[in-house]
Amino acid sequence: MPKKWGLAVDLDRCTGCGACVTACHAENNIPTVGPAQAARGRAMHWLRVERYWEGDFPDVRLKFRPVMCQQCDAAPCEPVCPTYASHHTDEGLNAQVYNRCIGTRYCANACPYNVRFFDFFHPRWPKPLHLQLNPDVSIREVGVMEKCTFCIQRITAAQIDAKANKREVADGEIKPACVQGCAAKAMVFGDLNDPESEVSRLARQSRGTKLLEDLGTLPNVSYLERQSHA
């Protein structure tokens, strides 16, 4: 049975600390654009923590929601790409082939979650961050789109290791950088085709919701809605 990778995010556990964002930047060689470019809307965070205030004063409640690519089954970004740079993998991921991308940015417009990012300039890192680049992840050149991959390099590495040792990939063995970096253990990654995996059990919970579900994009990221009033 082919894998179908999914993620569950427990919003009750999320503290909004932003460790997932930092881990994602470090793992995936995401350029830091600096304050001037960030002010002009060029900040690149494959994963962002959205912060919403709910209710009226004094009964306000703070809510955090980490938003990354939802790896939709019916992804609006895929059919619009004229060169197949944005395409669907056998394991249900919305992959982006950087070398094939010509930068029409149509995928980013079609994406309802705004989780696709454009390289406005050649990537740069302030010293000494340029010494910590991850050798498993390619650097994207100017003029292409990039996005969350569910840390496909980690998925592939685990699968190669499992195959070499003639075993199956165990549930919880693969941890994308955001999952690994989350101190509150708010995120769980795994195979949604395995009904016994932890991510499947969490997604089936009554608290499980999908972001902008009514658009029919069939996301593979589940959010466990908040119940606590803390």
């Binding site: 470019q37 002009r40 809307g41 060029r42 900040a43 690149m44 962002r48 959205e50 912060r51 919403y52 938003v67 609006p76 059919p79 619009v80 790409c81 004229p82 060169t83 197949y84 094939r100 991308c101 010509i102 930068g103 029409t104 940015r105 149509y106 980013a108 417009n109 079609a110 309802p112 979650y113 705004n114 990012f117 454009f118 390289d119 406005f120 300039f121 050649h122 100017v142 003029g143 292409v144 789109m145 972001l211 902008l212 658009l215 994009t217």
Partner: protein
């Protein structure tokens, strides 16, 4: 047909080809330097990266796509209007058709550049084309951008043919009236035209076929341009009415462009005897009709969205009509509806000057309309956390200005090299009853339907 009239036609319409004043060179130099600056700006943008524009996350399309839709829209003046007028045999079209068809060819060339200018990696634009690649990769035929590629190349090929076919007899005329290098160049362009009945018959059949074939192509082109937007699940883009709405808007701005071009030709090439107030009146009525149609579309679109009260769409509509885009929105309404409706519905104001003022209003209004379709929606998609604002940067403004200069430059050069009014069609249009050359100046000739 009177010899005097034929001679006068030849003299008037061939004069721009044979005599050139210093003013022409000055104009070409000025326009040429603006175009060169624009090209230099584009090169600068490629060298430094796309970040020199005002594009940001989430507003990934802005000025360039606005210009793309605008110029493809302008291209609907020529071929479509000319084809319809040819099919209904409107006699007054004869002096209008060629200067209209040229607009199509040049506006399409400029418009088609913008999808390339706006690419992150423009040097790879040919990946949109289905060509035999050693990697066996085809373009994605599900993508509206690939449909665009086919629609625009089809329309450009068709409208260039439609423009060039009726130029053949005029090239032959220029060949016969000139000596030296002009004789040789126009001789080659005339493709051996000698004016035998067989040749005339073939030309007429080819024109009839082209006039019928080009209409569905023109309609499909702007429909497909609208699909770039309506295929994406973006608030206020994802609309079933975008196809006809865009086609109507395209014809609307196209007629405005044509009126301005005709008024300029009339003034600078002294074509008062050929482009009459009647032509402007008729095109002005057409512009009025399209203005009403445009207002109807906007009303239908806005009312249904307001009534439907879908949160994401209402957010876009509010920011457009009441928020930060409101000054642009209401300028658009004034330019596209209030000004043309007032000027063109009052007979006394429907003069050449009146039509030109209304047309300038429409060009501004229609450019704003496209901007207001592209930008507010992208800035206000579903998740408020990722909303954004857009401000154009000098790069985008310079490239936009230079395309207007490019259009003018191409038009000026064309009117210098080709008779801008079809001489043979004017001759064919002269009714046998009007024997004297004085009668020609009368509007009566314009009212007749068929030679």
């Amino acid at each position: 047909m009177s010899d005097a009239y034929t001679r006068q036609l030849n003299d008037d319409l061939l004069r721009p080809l044979l005599q050139t004043s210093w003013r022409f060179y000055l104009l070409v130099a000025v326009l040429g330097s603006i175009v060169a600056t624009g090209l230099g700006t584009w090169a600068w943008q490629m060298w430094n990266g796309f970040g020199v524009t005002g594009i940001n996350n989430p507003i990934f399309w802005a000025f360039y796509i606005t210009n793309f839709v605008f110029w493809i829209g302008i291209s609907h003046a020529g071929t479509l209007i000319s084809a319809i007028l040819r099919l209904v045999n409107a006699g007054w079209r004869r002096p209008v058709t060629r200067c209209a068809e040229v607009i199509t060819a040049f506006a399409l060339m400029i418009g088609a550049l913008f999808p390339i200018i706006h690419l992150g990696r423009p040097w790879l634009f040919f990946w949109l084309m289905p060509y035999p690649s050693e990697r066996l990769i085809w373009p994605n035929f599900r993508s509206p951008l690939v449909w665009d590629f086919f629609a625009i190349t089809t329309y450009l090929t068709g409208s260039v043919l439609f423009l060039v076919l009726p130029m053949i007899p005029d090239f032959a005329l220029v060949r016969d009236k000139t000596t030296g290098w002009r004789h040789r160049v126009y001789g080659a362009l005339a493709l051996g035209w000698t004016g035998t009945p067989k040749q005339w018959h073939r030309l007429e059949s080819a024109m009839s076929i082209m006039a019928i074939a080009i209409i569905p192509v023109a309609v499909s082109v702007h429909t497909i341009v609208s699909f770039d937007f309506s295929m994406a699940p973006v608030p206020m883009w994802h609309s079933t009415m975008f196809g006809p709405y865009f086609v109507a808007g395209a014809i609307f701005s196209g007629i405005a462009g044509l009126i301005i071009a005709m008024a300029a030709l009339r003034k600078f090439l002294h074509l008062e005897a050929y482009l009459h107030p009647l032509h402007f009146q008729n095109l002005g009525k057409l512009l009025l009709l399209m203005s009403l149609l445009w207002a109807y579309f906007v009303f239908a679109e806005r009312l249904t969205i307001w009534y439907g009260n879908e949160p994401s769409e209402i957010a876009v509509m509010n920011v457009t009509q009441r928020g930060s885009f409101a000054p642009l929105y209401w300028t658009m309404v004034v330019c596209n509806f209030v000004i043309p409706f007032t000027i063109l519905s009052i007979r006394k104001l429907r003069t050449i000057t009146g039509c030109v003022i209304a047309s300038f209003g429409v060009l501004i209004g229609m450019w704003l309309e496209r901007f207001l379709i592209v930008v507010p929606s992208l800035g206000h998609k579903y998740l408020p956390y990722s909303w954004g604002v857009y401000r154009p940067r000098p790069v985008e403004i310079m490239i936009t200005i230079s395309t207007f200069a490019a259009m003018t430059l191409l038009y000026v050069l064309f009117s210098k090299l080709v008779p801008i009014i079809s001489i043979w069609e004017m001759k064919a249009g002269q009714h046998p009853a009007h024997a004297s050359s004085e009668a020609v100046a009368h509007d009566a000739v314009l009212g007749e339907t068929r030679a």
